[in-house]
Assembly symmetry: C2
Homo-oligomer: 213 residues x 2
DNA sequence: GTCTATAGGTTGATAGAC
DNA sequence: GTCTATCAACCTATAGAC
């Protein structure tokens, strides 16, 4: 059955990509884990590149419309409160990815991080080409919340925020181990978000920016 | 001459590692760029793993003692000001890496970022094993600056801060491209730090934490 | 210390039988 | 749609001549 095979490949691939990265995961590993034939990846997806995009597309296609919908209704307040509102509206769509797949949210963020740092140009082009509009909407909302902060400064802060998130996920196994050993805490993705969003909101809202000469 | 060859290898390797990552850079690329024989890497460093560690060690061995020295004299104030003081004392040693090599700071942080996200366990183990004490000192300083914030909450924030930094560096090429295209800015590492530190300080110092149930 | 040559393994992709 | 077999290219590492 084609449908089953295709789905098995996607699931195996996303697990391994999230864990090891794209470049370090071979098609042989993927097909072995999916328990399908090696040649079936190229039959169903054409190439490894296409498979990588298909894995991410599955999540983006669920999340981005939800974000669009959530933000369409929003007129953010000015200041820290507005930033909180924007972030709050991202939280739902993000956590809903757990419906796509068990641990889907965590998987997605890790895939995103790996895609960013393994500077495979084709992935960034694919994302920005397909979903750039939603990204722009998020930025516009933050601009409404923080009208006094220049666009380029906001661009920086948004990227720092993404970095906090992605890094936490990318090293989440290490974080989990440390937290358990040193602080007797068992962590899941919702915990990370609960700690992360105040940190990020605080950092984004700061008014102490200055363009150094 | 052995010394020259070894140095040429290190320089070529760190450039390519920083640009492409460790896994995606082959010894053939390195030796071609260094204009030395392929076999010389294994002769001088034993293995690719050792070469990776040697590249990072060159920077850590310069920076970590400087951080130790800078922090030894410091008794941070309480509050946001204390956090700023701690970060300020990290800035110098970090920027001094430009003395190791032109663009040394940028190179180093990119190497660090790639090392963290390409979860090559041996690298994290090497770093924490060799320089973990300095990391602990930094944490202790932040605890002095923010005595009201529980240790586990500070642990979270420190990781988010590291995440902002490492991710920004690991994806700095992408950031540069975007900044140039969308905001007509040419960025260097000092710019990134100038934007990053206030963001991080703001996020770490926030007093709006709450342990959700 | 430097070189050539090569071993021994991996990779992504494909041709062609079924 | 699935399989086997294989290609051509790449990889790290090493043996051994100079």
């Amino acid at each position: 059955m084609s449908k089953q095979t295709k789905a098995r490949i996607i699931e195996a691939a996303e697990y391994l990509f999230a864990l090891q990265g794209y470049g370090q995961t071979s098609m042989r590993e993927i097909t072995a884990r999916a328990d399908v034939n090696l040649a079936s990846v190229n039959y169903h997806f054409g190439s490894k590149k296409n498979l990588i995009q298909a894995v991410l597309k599955r999540y983006f296609d669920v999340m981005m419309p939800q974000i669009d919908e959530a933000l369409a209704k929003l007129v953010p307040s000015v200041g820290r409160k507005g930033v909180d509102q924007v972030l709050q509206n991202l939280k739902g769509p993000l956590l809903n990815l757990n419906a796509v797949q068990p641990d889907g949210t965590e998987m997605f963020v890790q895939l995103l991080g790996k895609g960013y740092t393994e500077s495979q140009g084709h992935l960034r082009r694919f994302i920005m080409g397909s979903y750039g509009e939603t990204v722009q909407t998020i930025l516009a909302m933050l601009r409404t919340a923080l009208p006094a902060i220049p666009a380029d400064e906001l661009f920086w802060r948004l990227h720092f925020a993404i970095g906090s998130f992605v890094f936490s996920m990318a090293s989440s196994q290490a974080l989990k181990d440390i937290a358990k050993a040193d602080y007797q805490q068992d962590i899941d993705i919702a915990d990370v978000i609960e700690h992360l969003f105040p940190f990020v909101a605080q950092g984004i809202s700061g008014d102490g920016y200055q363009n150094e000469g």
